[in-house]
């Protein structure tokens, strides 16, 4: 008698359609904060990944140009802890648009003026994203740390004074943040510090790293299977159009840098093949339609 056929629930693969967005883990996992929802548990003592030098970034920019990359993103940790950060931005803005994801704490007026000058000198856009997790210190500070609400808002105000209009980036740790009313409250907060064209990005939380401790890890059913994608295409996932460069090689995306399995190679050219969507965080990207892009 034949064995009954058991439907194999195999792991799907995502192809790289086009490498449009290139990320740099420019400050490694080192941060001046230790937020309780950080999906890669960044902190002042986390050296899982170290920062990148100007030379590291320039080498990758050359390869990226050959592959036709469209935009560059810088994250950490806190990017402005990297002493080369402004030189890195200057080099990047010669070849394409750049975005920096920052906690806003190191945005003093002098730095903001220098960033404003860099933005003006380039044909391409320089964008800054400042993270905040609530409309008030009471909502934000338990997540991001004592006093961070006031200090991040001061950073936003300094950027505005230098003619830069940052995107406020908010995670859904507080559910109301993503509602229309919630968005309006953040717009009002930005207006209160001198930003008349408020911009906002809301991101879901990934239940990994520090966030897994805070709100619980993924459960076994939260995993992608072949057949979950509409018309069999995974082109809506950001990993179909991005890669992440760290001091230890090239990873598939900005989320999985604390998983060695997320690493695809040493140079961009090693990483142009498909990637298996094995990690439960891939489930979040699919279900919530996440893109880390602005």
């Amino acid at each position: 008698m034949a064995e009954p056929v058991i439907a194999r629930q195999s792991t799907p693969e995502v192809r790289l359609g086009s490498l449009d967005t290139l990320w740099f883990q420019v400050a490694g996992t080192v941060c001046n904060l230790a937020c309780t929802h950080c999906f890669i548990s960044c902190s002042p003592t986390n050296h899982t990944h170290e920062g990148l030098s100007l030379a590291d970034v320039e080498r990758t920019l050359d390869e990226a140009a050959e592959l036709g990359v469209k935009e560059y993103y810088f994250t950490g940790g806190e990017p402005f802890l990297n002493p080369d950060m402004e030189a890195i931005l200057e080099a990047t803005l010669k070849v394409g648009p750049a975005s920096v994801l920052t906690n806003g704490l190191l945005l003093d007026p002098q730095r903001c003026r220098r960033l404003g000058a860099l933005a003006d000198a380039s044909d391409y856009s320089l964008d800054l994203r400042v993270s905040l997790d609530g409309y008030s210190p009471e909502q934000n500070d338990p997540i991001r740390g004592e006093g961070t609400f006031e200090r991040a808002l001061q950073g936003v105000e300094n950027l505005a004074a230098a003619g830069l209009n940052p995107v406020l980036t908010v995670t859904e740790v507080h559910g109301e943040s993503s509602t229309p009313e919630g968005k309006e409250r953040f717009f009002a907060l930005l207006r209160s510090v001198g930003i008349d064209k408020p911009r906002l990005k809301v991101l879901p939380v990934f239940q990994i790293g520090a966030e897994a401790e805070r709100s619980g890890a993924y459960e076994s059913w939260q995993k992608l299977r072949e057949g979950d994608a509409l018309e069999g295409s995974w082109d809506h996932l950001q990993c179909s159009s991005c890669r992440m460069v760290t001091d230890q090689g090239v990873w598939v995306c900005p989320i999985l840098v604390n998983e060695p399995e997320g690493k695809m190679g040493e140079a961009l050219s090693d990483t142009l093949g498909p990637f298996p969507l094995e990690h439960p965080a891939c489930w979040t990207c699919h279900v919530y339609g996440v893109s880390c892009r602005t």
Partner: protein
């Protein structure tokens, strides 16, 4: 039996929180975070060093070629024959139901001696009376491409597929779309569904690829400040052409690449270019004989972005008669966008009033 007063409990909780926060700041000394585990730094670094694949120099070159060629086939495959050669063409996009501007465009292009007129799509949205656009296109012999608006209307989508997340942008985009959707006949929608998504056109000896957003995606935004030269060079090579023409963003620009290829966003004739002026924009392309430029290739391409005046007051009147939102009428009368601003990159947004 003692019970602590609430003040002490709060105080203790606060101290515990502070202690926890301090511990977090130093938790990773000598340790790495591997997923949810803390492991000795060396363990993570060794595992990372072994992960992924490392190709040789030759293999990397092959991988790059294979990757670039893969994207290429998709963009080149559906193209039909090459139209032309023309010596002079007019190209416009984004009519947005603005039949007044369309009429002016046809006159202007004719006066300037355009042998062919191309429309890169987005016929509807924003303005009044969508059905007035089609006869003008047909009488003018305009060669039309499908935009995301036509794709959405023909396929019965519920929105224009611009991808707004700002509630205000979404409100006006939806309102515009529903108006156009209601006022388009089923026959017009079927006609939209049959429009091609790309055309290849020869001007002089230059072969141009025409698309709505980009050659690869109907709703890709190509703004001047976020479409860098190396990206465009690859896109042109993959499209196997000497130049790309697109629209979709509403803002016109022209970049001549180091390779000699031209990339032109022809702008839109449906609403002003968010610069405080009421006129709109289109592009004239002309083959010019090789002369003083010293170029090694014959038949240079001259690209002119043309400001176009039209009766914008008549349009504003008609929009009000149709009870379209005053915010949209304001854009026509002032030249400043009041909606759909969220998609603008920082540079373009900085130049915007709102």
């Amino acid at each position: 039996m003692s019970h602590r007063p609430p003040k002490d409990a709060n105080e203790q909780e606060r101290l515990a929180q502070q202690r926890q926060a301090r511990e977090k700041l130093t938790a990773h000394r000598g340790m790495a975070t591997w997923g949810e585990r803390l492991v000795p730094l060396g363990d993570f670094h060794r595992a990372a060093a072994q992960a992924g694949r490392t190709l040789s120099g030759d293999e990397r070159r092959q991988a790059r070629e294979k990757y670039l060629a893969g994207a290429e086939t998709e963009m080149v495959a559906p193209a039909a024959g090459v139209e032309g050669p023309w010596s002079r063409i007019a190209v416009f996009g984004g009519v947005y139901n603005n039949h007044f501007a369309l009429e002016s465009l046809l006159e202007d292009a004719h006066r300037r001696g355009a042998e062919a007129v191309y429309c890169l799509g987005d016929l509807g949205g924003f303005g009044p009376h969508p059905e007035k656009v089609r006869p003008l296109l047909e009488q003018g012999g305009v060669r039309v491409l499908q935009g995301n608006y036509e794709e959405s209307l023909a396929s019965g989508r519920e929105d224009c597929n611009c991808g707004y997340t700002d509630p205000r942008d979404n409100h006006f985009a939806t309102l515009s779309y529903r108006y156009t959707e209601r006022h388009c006949s089923a026959d017009f929608k079927r006609w939209m569904g049959r429009l091609p998504r790309r055309r290849r056109v020869r001007v002089g000896d230059r072969e141009l690829l025409l698309a709505h957003g980009s050659p690869r995606r109907i709703n890709e935004f190509l703004f001047a400040s976020t479409a860098p030269v190396p990206f465009l060079e690859v896109l042109v090579r993959q499209s196997r052409c000497d130049g790309l023409l697109c629209t979709h963003t509403g803002l016109h620009w022209h970049r001549r690449l180091p390779s000699g290829a031209n990339v032109v966003n022809v702008g839109v004739i449906g609403r002003p270019a968010n610069d405080g002026a009421t006129h709109v924009w289109y592009a004239m392309l002309e083959a010019v004989a090789n002369g003083s430029s010293g170029s090694t290739r014959s038949g240079e391409l001259a690209v002119e972005l043309v400001p176009l005046r039209y009766d914008h007051q008549a349009l504003a009147r008609e929009m009000r008669q149709e009870e379209l939102p005053e915010e949209l009428v304001e854009t026509i009368e002032t030249g400043w966008w009041t909606t759909c601003l969220e998609v603008l990159p920082p540079k373009e947004r900085a130049a915007s009033r709102f």
